[in-house]
Subunit: 316 residues, 2 copies
């Protein structure tokens, strides 16, 4: 990763924006390699009315990745009165840059994944980082979830002793579907408004966010490697379509990021690239007791200590 930036010549927003562009390139490259079919990302550049714009990259119909979205944006302008109030900002000018990622693999044995890193500067000089990542297996694999959480914990601990537990707990709350009383998957990290000066220096917080992006790329590439060849049948595919329906429910009805984007006039196709390629809804579908589907659903709960989870042990 590019860490040799000259802080004397570029303002922080330029440094972060350049890294975000670089990170999008790096991640798309790794995902194309992991997919392995030669299928490439297609890019749509777009402009924002207020200023700036983005480049949305989507790979469709790969071998492993049925629909993979990696979106970069850097936009600025004036927030609406309502949004400025909800963020408790006295000045409506803003700059925002980030990368958002969602992967919908073809195989029900390869989990859906999501990652976001973002940086925001308000007109009053306040600046903060936010981000997160989470894993949504169709069938929860406890050992896989444990390894995923171990990797992100290791990254968190490099930066702050409290980060893992704090942001893992935040993810449990954020990626929760109240009307289903279940989490979206096995969680990960979520954090917002890590404020420069208050929660760490610009360099410290930026280094953490870079590491979050990087560990996502590495961890998900390893998961693809481990799961891509696992066999599956029509039964697992059916369950995948049902779970993709739940994913669409979260994104459309619950996710604050999606709602914020749609309500503030973001580019619809870039925001909704996170939706699954297909989904199904069956009325009152209940998996058989003790079936793989029912057992998997039991793990979709807040507060599980994935670092010590054991497929054979009872849930906390």
């Amino acid at each position: 990763m590019n860490t040799s930036v000259d802080f004397a010549v570029a303002p922080p927003r330029t440094i972060v924006e350049n890294w975000m562009r670089h990170f999008q390139d790096w991640l798309c490259y790794r995902l194309e390699l992991a997919d392995g079919s030669g299928t490439k990302f297609a890019e749509t550049p777009w402009e924002h009315a207020g200023g700036g714009g983005g480049r949305t990259r989507v790979l469709q119909d790969g071998e492993v990745l049925e629909k993979s979205g990696v979106a970069f944006s850097a936009v600025w302008g004036g927030l609406t009165e309502k949004v400025a109030q909800s963020l408790q900002l006295p000045d409506r000018r803003y700059f925002a840059t980030g990368v958002s990622v969602v992967q919908h693999p073809r195989s029900p044995r390869v989990p859906i994944s999501h990652m976001n890193v973002r940086y925001f500067e308000a007109g009053n000089g306040e600046a903060w980082f936010g981000g997160g990542l989470d894993l949504t297996p169709i069938y929860v694999d406890v050992a896989q979830a444990r390894r995923f959480h171990e990797q992100i914990r290791e990254v968190c601990e490099r930066h702050h002793p409290d980060y893992y537990l704090r942001f893992k707990t935040w993810a449990d709350e954020y990626f929760y579907v109240p009307h289903r009383q279940e989490t979206r998957g096995v969680g990960g990290l979520f954090f917002d408004r890590l404020t420069v000066g208050q929660d760490g220096s610009f360099e410290e917080l930026f280094a953490f966010v870079q590491d979050v992006g990087e560990v996502y790329g590495r961890a998900y590439q390893a998961i693809i490697h481990d799961t891509r060849a696992l066999p599956w049948s029509a039964r697992e595919k059916h369950w995948q379509l049902v779970r993709r329906g739940r994913y669409a429910e979260f994104n459309l009805a619950i996710d604050r990021g999606t709602r914020f984007g749609l309500e503030t006039g973001g580019r619809t196709e870039s925001i909704l690239m996170s939706l699954p390629p297909q989904a199904e809804w069956h009325y009152n579908l209940r998996p058989e007791p003790n079936s793989p589907e029912e057992t998997s659903q039991r793990w979709l709960r807040k507060g599980i200590d994935w670092l010590h989870a054991d497929a054979g042990a009872p849930l906390q």
Copy 2:
């Protein structure tokens, strides 16, 4: 329809609740007949924590109707502080009864349809009716939309000279998807808080709502009759799955009824029976200029005078 109720012996809420039950029976009977395959509705009875409950009826995998939901409920109890405030009600006690209907036909030539009738009594004695119906063709058929609007206009005019235009315009606003800049379909009627004493007598408003329910049943049965045998191919099926995705977007991200139900702890499976059996999302999908798909989308606009619409004439 049952109009020989003795108003002297039963309070209004009982009269409306009984009609709602009867209307659910009547509509399910007609839909089973229209489907014609012998497939029957399955019923799930449920209870509401505060008091009352409902009976949700779903017919799945019929010949015409792939997924048909007809839900009755009559519930009472205490509104949360937040809901009471949003409804501007000083007293939190309430009674609510209604029937909600969504039809997802198998053929892309048969439109999706929706209907709702409802009655609400607040603790302070205020009582009102609400309701609506709308048609969502996969391919807009202008003559069909005109006949549909003619039928509902005729019913409206029996009750009030302003009702059709007022409630048709309200439906254009309600069934609108801002992030797609398109209407859900060719519209219909939407009305809320038609208050007893203010907007008409109990008998007048109740008679209107009964007629709205009844014209939905008749009009949709006629549409099924006219469209069920029309041929279609993989191309039309694909477009149906895309349009069903838009339907899910409206219901999950926009529809105030769905959001209200999910946020106030309604029965999730009854609320989300409105979701399509399958849906698809393709990044940046744009129909070919002047293709049937693109031509159809041009009609998904507010303010079209369907009573005088002509497939050959330019849009207003």
